[in-house]
Amino acid sequence: MGRYLLTLRRFWATALAGQLEYQLNLLIDLLAMAGNLAGSLFVISLFYGPGRSLGGWSWEAALVVLGVYTVLDGVCSSFLRPNLSTIATHVQQGTLDFILLKPIDSQFWLSFRTFSPAGLPEIGTGLGLILWAAAKVGASPSPTGFLTAALMLASSLVILYSLWFGLATTSIWFVKTWNATEVLRAALTAGRYPISAYPLRLRSLLTVVLPVAFLTTVPAEAILGRISVNTGAASLLMATVTLMLCRGFWRYALRFYTSASS
């Protein structure tokens, strides 16, 4: 475990050092993130506006959903995208060979090798938005409530990671699978709004097929203290199953890895 922690520290230290080599690029990344967040707030203010409600969610409660979405988007920018989008490149160029021959879990390497600081302010803003909006709604979570909320947020992160990694794994056979991850990102965008704001049929689709509901609405419900035991259990089950499937799928896929020709 100590070896993995030290490796992780060195992974991220080198990732940061690598990005600081290009100051201007990092600055532009941060500016783009600020612009994106401002746009997101503007769109939701058009939809809701104080006093209005959508799908039974008030403006402030909906902001909690947006807060969770912002945190997830920040995690995508900082951790998921920089790492998982390189899997296809590693397969295409054959550099996956180096990773597979290291005495360390290849999934760990591919999932945590790098990080981009550009998503960190977004994660901070998302958490701030959650706290502010939850206070406005009047939610005062007990320690158990707080723990549940943290657990549901962790669960949503695991689901998102597993789906993304699972899609990236298909590059072992198809090499270029960026389009599939774009679909996943588009689906995540649907999670900006509470799931009950969508028509019933779409709601089922966004819960069962693309588990968008578990990504943003369920953690928001937990934060607001509105979550049922069943929903919480379903979210944990979903996270466990997707993580196990994605891990099994990666191991299975490696049997078919043929490595790029030299």
Partner: protein
């Protein structure tokens, strides 16, 4: 032409494959490991491959728009036998060269041995492990260096990449520094280690790649074209380093290279792979002798002579003014040289083996044609 034809080589191939089959098969080896059998004093082979095969499915596409559309909707593929039932074993500390034309199957063999590619058939035991399982104890013992691919972090100095590798292999700070210093000295690397990789020359980068790959002191090295694209001096330095590393640590080195100089300088034993099959397994010297039953005689004459003047001595390879190159059968060499010296005004005479590149190049050409 016919006397060094494909048939002769296939005969050799069969004979030498039999040699490999006499060696203990992986199952027997595994049983020996399991029972901790100390009875035999024979060294345990570090690599034991028996009837190793790999078949790939490769998609086929015709050129042009029509071909592209057909390829998109009805994808056709065929099976390619990259490696066909090859058997060999390698003892610890050996330096073995894999020879073969592009696409012969040598890189695929190397990738199966390192555990990157699952074999389609046969038995394989490397360093006491089934390589495709990629167990940590196996991976700690091996390394892979590829001339065309790099593992160093492009924007940072090599030292940063070394620190990442040290953490992955669980090396402590002091030991890491000691090993970096030792390897840097052997590779003649100094301030290059603190310069971003993108600012290094190709030769410096390859030396840093080697350092990164050997930091955990592996006992089995898989080197795929490690001197590719390097200038002559850099190639020589890499070769000297590899020989030195092999001597110091008793490491086994398996090398593929298109530069025959790498093979001649480093590998007393070669495996010649052709169209997926094992053509030859033995010493480079014997291979040269068998492939080329002639020796190259270079003459410097006092006065130039036409090619016809040499027809009774041997085959004229080249004539350039007063300089003549003749190919003469090995068993007639002494007599022919005596006649040359007696009949012609010779200023200088030199006898050598024909360049191995030419010999093997001719073999591949003949093999493909037939």
């Amino acid at each position: 032409m016919s006397e060094h034809g494909l048939g002769v080589l296939l005969d050799w191939g069969t004979g030498l494959t039999n040699r490999a089959e006499c060696l203990p098969c992986p199952r027997r080896l595994a049983a020996r490991i399991a029972s901790n059998d100390q009875a035999t004093s024979l060294p345990m082979p570090i690599v034991c491959a028996e009837r190793l095969s790999k078949t790939y499915r490769v998609s086929q596409k015709q050129p042009g728009l029509g071909g592209t559309l057909r390829h998109f909707f009805w994808r056709r593929s065929r099976l390619v036998e990259a490696v066909r039932e090859i058997s060999f074993s390698i003892e610890p500390g050996e330096m073995v060269g894999f020879l073969g034309a592009n696409g012969a199957g040598k890189t695929t063999t190397l990738k199966m041995l390192s555990g990157l590619v699952y074999p389609s058939g046969g038995n394989l035991l490397v360093a006491g492990h089934s390589p495709q399982r990629r167990q940590a104890s196996f991976l700690r013992n091996i390394t892979l260096v590829m001339g065309q691919k790099q593992q160093l972090i492009w924007d940072l100095p090599p030292l940063d990449s070394f620190r990442v590798n040290a953490a992955v292999y669980g090396l402590d700070e002091r030991e890491t520094k000691r090993r970096i210093n030792e390897l840097a000295e052997m590779l003649e690397l100094g301030e290059e280690l603190t310069r971003p990789v993108r600012k290094l020359s190709l030769g410096e980068r390859m030396k840093a790649e080697l350092l990164a790959a050997l930091l955990h002191r592996p006992s089995l090295l898989f080197l795929d074209e490690p001197t590719l694209g390097l200038d002559v001096n850099a190639q020589a330095r890499v070769r000297t380093f590899l020989a030195d590393y092999n001597r110091r640590h008793g490491a086994t080195v398996l090398l593929t290279s298109h530069y025959m100089a790498d093979i001649t300088a480093l590998c007393p034993r070669v495996l010649l792979i052709h169209q997926g099959g094992l053509f030859y397994d033995g010493s480079l010297e014997t291979l040269t002798q068998r492939l080329s039953p002639c020796r190259l005689v270079r003459l410097e004459l006092k006065t130039p002579l036409p090619a016809s003047a040499f027809s009774s001595y041997g085959q004229v390879e080249a004539i350039d003014g007063r300089e003549v190159k003749l190919l003469i059968a090995r068993d007639q060499l002494t007599g022919v040289v005596a006649r040359l010296l007696g009949n012609l005004e010779v200023l200088d005479l030199e006898v050598a083996d024909p360049p191995i590149e030419d010999v093997i190049g001719q073999l591949f050409q003949r093999g493909v044609v037939q």
